[in-house]
Symmetry: C2
Subunit: 408 residues, 2 copies
């Protein structure tokens, strides 16, 4: 009997991701993650909504999927259909909606249907780091589509698709965030939406539309979703993480039944958490417009504070994009600054930010870019944190040349 | 421009699972699925718990993982540690607990750490169909361990591990449900638990302990969990689906940090639904013992009704196992009955049951076995449904020879 201790780690398969460190709490100046503003969580109204829906429908919890099938809670699917028809121009019913365990699961499921290792997909040159990481882990080749302040440049995309075609390559999808692009905050104009759909059809490339942030559009009128313009070539996903709360793990996908029925077959989680779904439906069915209007006002104020702080602290050294809504500001520092080298000293100063390379298809080319999220911190913390970050940046790189603290 | 229609299904990768049909509701006699008794859902107490926890901690919803890190809601991890130390002999704290999105995710994560396609694993000869299906989809070879009324037969397991060793094969884990085995309902005695751990160490095979049903043990005293006896070679998972409600997607894993920290790195869902976690913690922290005692009393009554109905309708044609708790009855019909051929006619008569082959490592050998779940239906429906099932079985196979309706 060689019964001398047992080390489970010796039984791990090779190639596992590195261990996750113990959670040590958020840093004081936390400008990463899609967190929302804790002050704006309607705790009292959510408490009332939760109590109401549990008294009315609590007994359904005894059944998987509330005995309503794997597409999700009917009340929430009804609300999604109503919201999408009222706000995004999408004509759909509960039958066309699949509730997902966060929009990340929506990304996983769409990718499951459309891609295999070695395939090529198109993403915006600056894009959601979570999706980029997922796609690269799946072994995909990612081609970056050029952006300007209005989203994908259709002339460039057309040339890119033609060049890929000439190489015998058809991308498996174009992943786009047309409405409050992550991280630039742009909104794709209607004309470009039509052009994108035409390109999709001409080159035979499905569109994967992620409207995670579309409810947080305030500085412009958002055109209809791509799915609203042509559902034949588009799969649409969205989320309640940004419009209500990210700890609630609820997103949705909208597509024709031939697509949804396959996504369902790949959704192996036994259903999305019922209470999260029920409470969102109960609260938003009564309060969505009020909630969003108020939240967008608060977020616009925080964005203004962030823009002012960046301008004041970095001056002309920072070239920010102009977001039309959302929760983040994307900007560029001079080429001499490699933001990757700022991560550690910033963390030591209690600051977390998203380095551009993690949010860009060509990481090296984005080495001077960064993303700062402004929804969670107070205006006060935003001002202090940006100042502290400018100080770290100046100490490490000499940029910005003179800090605000010195100037005043 | 070949802009003539677009069919997304033409873009699917090969080998996708078949589409899921539209949900058509439960059949009248629904004896499948781990559903609970809707009458026992404490809707009023859950409403109060939800309102209380939202008023107290609702603002935390603004942050991913409630700003408490990816292991899950601290209040729930505290409760899991308390429950496991009080009921399962496991000494642990919140630091040792990972909240999962259902115990199915626990199974996925443990498998991710320990197995690759082509590997061999050991499962009980009759076992949880969901895990069996997952493991087979992963390309694993499954070896079945012989069971008797007290769970795995250790003499047979020892011989089996020795035989595998002689072939140069070391199974990557032994997946076991020692406490209310699924589907037989057995409880592994303490002596066998010690023997199992000794075999694990002797042959160098980790134990994957699934205690999904352990809270529903009522007809015997359950010995401590395997993890309690030796945490070095065991990864432990559990669930709230059976003790409270399966629509709440919350399970947990308990293991040393070297294991949990790797599971965390593979858990890519952005956290488990917060409200599901918060409400379970709030309700069970005050009411667990009362709830479980009451629920077990109700389930014991339903099991008795099911056992009586099976005896009355099938007579000596049915050889049932004797569950020590849980929500299902496993029994065997004469060898001449192939239950797979009963699925369709039973469905036509409004009856759903689990055919043995889906719950058995050797499907062919289990062709006369079946599982009936009794938690959701009322005693009335149990009686009617078992009678209706016996009628279908008699019409199709001549067994049982004379139905109760004819006898009386």
């Amino acid at each position: 009997m060689n019964d001398v201790g047992f080390d489970l780690t010796q039984h791990f398969v090779p190639g596992l991701p590195e261990p996750t460190p113990r959670f040590g709490g958020f840093p004081p100046y936390n400008f990463i993650g899609g967190h929302n503003d804790p002050v704006q969580i309607p705790s009292e109204a959510l408490a009332e909504a939760a109590a109401r829906v549990l008294r009315r429908e609590g007994s359904k919890l005894a059944m998987y999927n509330l005995a309503q099938g794997p597409q999700g809670y009917a009340g929430l699917r009804d609300f999604v259909a109503l919201k999408l028809s009222g706000h995004r121009g999408i004509a759909c019913t509960r039958d066309d909606v699949l509730i997902t365990s966060g929009s990340g699961q929506g990304i996983d499921l769409v990718a499951r249907l459309l891609v295999q290792p070695g395939d090529t997909v198109v993403m915006e040159e600056f894009t959601y780091g979570g999706a980029l990481t997922k796609f690269r882990k799946m072994g995909l080749n990612v081609a970056g589509a050029k952006l300007d302040e209005h989203g994908i440049r259709m002339d460039a995309l057309e040339a890119q698709l033609a060049a890929l075609q000439a190489q015998g390559k058809t991308p498996k999808f174009i992943y786009t965030i047309p409405t409050i692009q992550n991280p630039t905050g742009s909104v794709l104009p209607l004309e470009r939406r039509h052009q994108l759909i035409a390109l999709s059809k001409r080159f035979g490339v499905p569109i994967f539309e992620d409207e995670c942030y579309a409810d947080l559009t305030w500085a412009t009128e958002a055109p209809p979703a791509l799915y609203a313009l042509d559902p034949s070539c588009v799969i649409h996903i969205g989320s309640f993480s940004k419009s209500l709360a990210p700890a609630l793990r609820v997103g949705y996908a909208v597509a024709g039944w031939p697509v949804l029925s396959r996504m369902l077959s790949c959704k192996s989680d036994g259903g999305t958490g019922a209470l999260d779904q029920m409470v969102i439906a109960e609260y938003f069915s009564a309060h969505f417009d009020d909630h969003i209007t108020h939240l967008n006002g608060v977020l616009a104020g925080k964005l203004a504070a962030m823009q002012e702080a960046v301008a004041a602290e970095f001056g002309t050294a920072a070239e920010p994009w102009t977001p039309r809504g959302g929760i983040f500001l994307w900007f560029r520092l001079p080429d001499s600054v490699d933001v990757r080298k700022l991560v550690k000293p910033a963390a030591d100063a209690g600051i977390a930010f998203n380095p551009g390379p993690e949010w860009a298809v060509d990481g090296e080319a984005a080495k001077s870019h960064l993303r700062l999220c402004f929804a969670m911190p107070s205006v006060e913390v935003i001002r202090e944190g940006v100042a502290a970050f400018a100080k770290v940046c100046r100490e490490q790189t000499g940029i910005p040349a003179i800090s605000r603290n010195v100037q005043h």
